[in-house]
Symmetry: C3
Subunit: 367 residues, 3 copies
């Protein structure tokens, strides 16, 4: 506990934790002040996500490489999962899907591109482990093919088509989780020597000393509950706040939710790039994207049978599928070379900007 307080004192990001009680107070006093609640909940989620990320890594560091890798791989995007669960329980499937698609695109374009740019402005040419990048990009490609199919086939609205899309989504969810599990077996067990540098990087992601196991587990449990509670406020206020800010719901789901949920990891990715440890940055960017596509999204489909008002399917609107596909192709092409310069970062960021600009300008009725 003492160590937790010490860390809070040294890490200015964690001072934002003061907004956690503030958001609960505000919700009780002014439950209709959506814009205020939205801003406060964003400010509260960011430091909680950072704590969650550090706690996960600390548990992982204590439990040895294989179990630790497994933990990092399943809990690495816990914040995104908890936010999506809050939206799922509220029946806001559109927001769930927008935040899944947004997290995939934001990680594989914005985080990757900004890492390349920030690293490239300091270092002339940077090298990193191609095998690891190719592995994550291949997983991501499989997931996008899986998401493409129900979206391409199930446009009809007949009861038969709806039932087909639901059965297909369930099958695809099981298949994606199986692929993710086999991928962990491959990268953590049978062929772990391929992933040398990337694994070393993951271990020291935060660059700080790991916490004792008890503290880490307690933090993991406690903070998850807090994130869940704040996410409820966030999900309730996000739609009205978006209108107040003049943003379309698609833009909020796609861009804002993804940036809020991934803020802590982005910090690690960018500081890794500046320190010329690009393996770490590429691992976070593509690893998070793959994890959300192959683990978080299918788990949400399965959980929707238990927790949601109705089962959720994997049918995305065509623009989202095309965007995810182009993001995957872009990330896969630029990481294929195993080296980068600042201009590669510019190119990847430009692709992200094209999508962000389109979503920002999109009139609600065209969507």
């Amino acid at each position: 506990m003492h160590q937790l307080l010490k860390e809070i004192r040294h890490n200015p990001l964690l001072w934002l934790l003061v907004f956690v009680p503030v958001v609960f107070a505000a919700e009780t006093l002014a439950p209709e002040a959506y814009t205020l609640l939205f801003v406060l909940s964003v400010l509260a989620i960011v430091p909680l996500a950072a704590l969650l990320s550090h706690a996960t890594e600390s548990v992982a560091a204590k439990t040895g490489d294989s179990v630790g890798g497994l933990l990092n791989a399943t809990l690495g995007n816990l914040t995104e999962l908890v936010i999506a669960l809050a939206a799922l329980r509220a029946g806001q499937y559109m927001l769930v899907k927008a935040s899944i698609a947004g997290a995939i695109v934001t990680n594989s374009l914005f985080v990757l591109g900004a890492s390349f740019l920030l690293g490239g402005l300091k270092h002339h040419v940077q090298e990193y482990n191609r095998a690891s990048a190719r592995f994550q990009a291949a997983l991501l490609f499989l997931a996008i093919v899986a998401l493409l199919v129900p979206s391409a086939v199930g446009e009809a609205d007949s009861p038969a088509a709806v039932a087909f899309t639901q059965k297909l989504s369930l099958g695809l969810a099981v298949l994606l989780i199986a692929a993710y599990g086999l991928g962990m077996l491959f990268s953590l067990k049978t062929h772990r020597e391929f992933f040398g540098s990337a694994e070393h990087a993951e271990g020291g992601e935060s660059g700080e000393a790991p916490w004792p196991l008890g503290l880490a587990l307690a933090t993991l449990a406690g903070v998850t509950v807090l994130v869940a509670l704040v996410s409820e406020v966030f999900v309730e206020s996000v739609q009205e706040a978006a209108v107040a800010f003049g943003m379309t719901p698609a833009f909020v789901g796609f861009i804002v939710v993804a940036l809020v949920g991934g803020a802590a990891e982005m910090g690690s990715a960018f500081s890794g790039a500046r320190k010329n440890r690009l393996d770490l940055s590429v691992g976070i960017a593509l690893g998070s994207a793959a994890q959300i596509a192959l683990f978080v999204a299918p788990v949400l489909v399965l959980l929707s049978y238990v927790m949601g008002p109705a089962p959720m399917n994997l049918q995305f609107w065509p623009g989202a599928v095309v965007t995810m596909m182009i993001a995957t192709i872009t990330a896969s092409s630029v990481t294929n070379a195993g080296r980068s310069t600042w201009f590669v970062g510019v190119l990847v960021l430009m692709v992200y900007l094209i999508f962000a600009m389109t979503l920002y300008l999109l009139p609600p009725q065209v969507q």
Copy 2:
């Protein structure tokens, strides 16, 4: 003849030849028992395809490298061609196209993925000739672009659109056959040194001694006639049998026909992978896919003017084009590295499973 009998005794697959007379007897006695006729004709085609494959290779081995390569390249998918011709004569163009698309997808995903998986379970990392894989993948890419165009443009039903699609298909068929011919000139003549290991592999595909020329030619002629006769039964019974088995016609055309027609080759590809001769497996998988796309499909268009009730075009339904395109991109990406592990096989098989599952679940009215 003695040698043929000896081979039949030693190869359990060929014991299935007993079903050839059985299927003819059954057709005379019970011409309406479609499910039975379907099962019997499948059981009869598999050993005939194996014999055809061995006979083609024996003729190829006796006639020297260039003529032999030519023969393998034109007769290598004779079974698929003969089955498709039976469907063509019956005017079942939907089945012809489904079996073309299915053979391309099955070879470039299922055969390739299963070879990688079976080989990778025995060997830690396997290497193969990249140049050969790239060549076949490039041919396949050209063919898919050619199939994409009439499918994308010719959706309208006006007489002008129909005439345009037909003219375009004829032009594309000529162009694809020309590309295939130039590709043989390149790989067998002007730049044959690039294809070293793959060619060696093709020579010993069956791992058995070649037959004398006379026996091989007689088998080639006789078995082709038998395949043609059994295919008639197969084509007549396949639709009703599909309904009886609860399968959609798309699933049957796409998956079942492709597996039946290619069973013999698949055996060679898988045993090659187990023996760490992955050049052989990749050559069979991508070579067959390219051959069907650039030779069998265009030849069927040309023959439809002579043998079919009406000319056939190259217009596929959008789902088939997208599936073939994703199969080509997948095969081309994974073979680009020139080495593979078991997990690459899993990924490729998963892409195949996604398509197979979709087709299996697809309700007939959504198709």
Copy 3:
């Protein structure tokens, strides 16, 4: 001036300059003879484009590498820009877009493929600088993503959709010009060592001695005016001439305009390939395509606010977007290896032929 006359005497292509006065005379005498005016204006533009190209390179050679590179990069496709401006002023936005798409496809497929084929028929295997080809292909990919978005989203015809497409096109135009500018900073300044061989090639593009600065600047100014004047005749006559020749307007815009505007550069690319200087050919092919996509097209959007009857957007019809995307993927895949043979050229030309054949056969009402 003496040097200019000397060059004209030695270069048979420049003898076509005699058609410049002829086209003006014909327009005065027979302003309705569209087919004649079309043929004459084509014959007059080809030598003017060659002069323009040589003058630009001469100014570039005199002004040092950085300014020279900048000049080549902005004025390298001056002919295409001037022709498109004539069409823009006449309000023929369809022709402008068809010529943009056509120039991208012609350069990245026809010029690239024909260079590989012509070079490969003389040399067994040819090598070139991969880094430069990858850079141009990446720029091209970014531009195609930018063109894909308004075409995919803005299909609706409502006023809101039209306003959205216009705002988006303006934003994308600014973004593409910024990417192009940063690309020049990268290739001419911060990482110029990557582009060694390609830059050397560009310097000696025409293989002839550069002109003195005064002559070059005067030629640049005078010939630009002549091209502008002849382009007016060309744009006015092209539609009626197309009908007379039995060609669709799409075929003319896509194929004929691109071949006319780029004739001079094609000559350099092909002669470079024959001399085993494939860096030069690939640089011209992909460089021109990237320049038209990232500089000429956005500049035309910006100029349409000043010079056109109405603002132009970047919305292309779906077939054009798919064609440009396949052209980019094809060019990017084949140049990825850094070496080529005659058959690579055949494959790339076949992709071009598929599109040219489709456009030629396309009935006007299906378009």
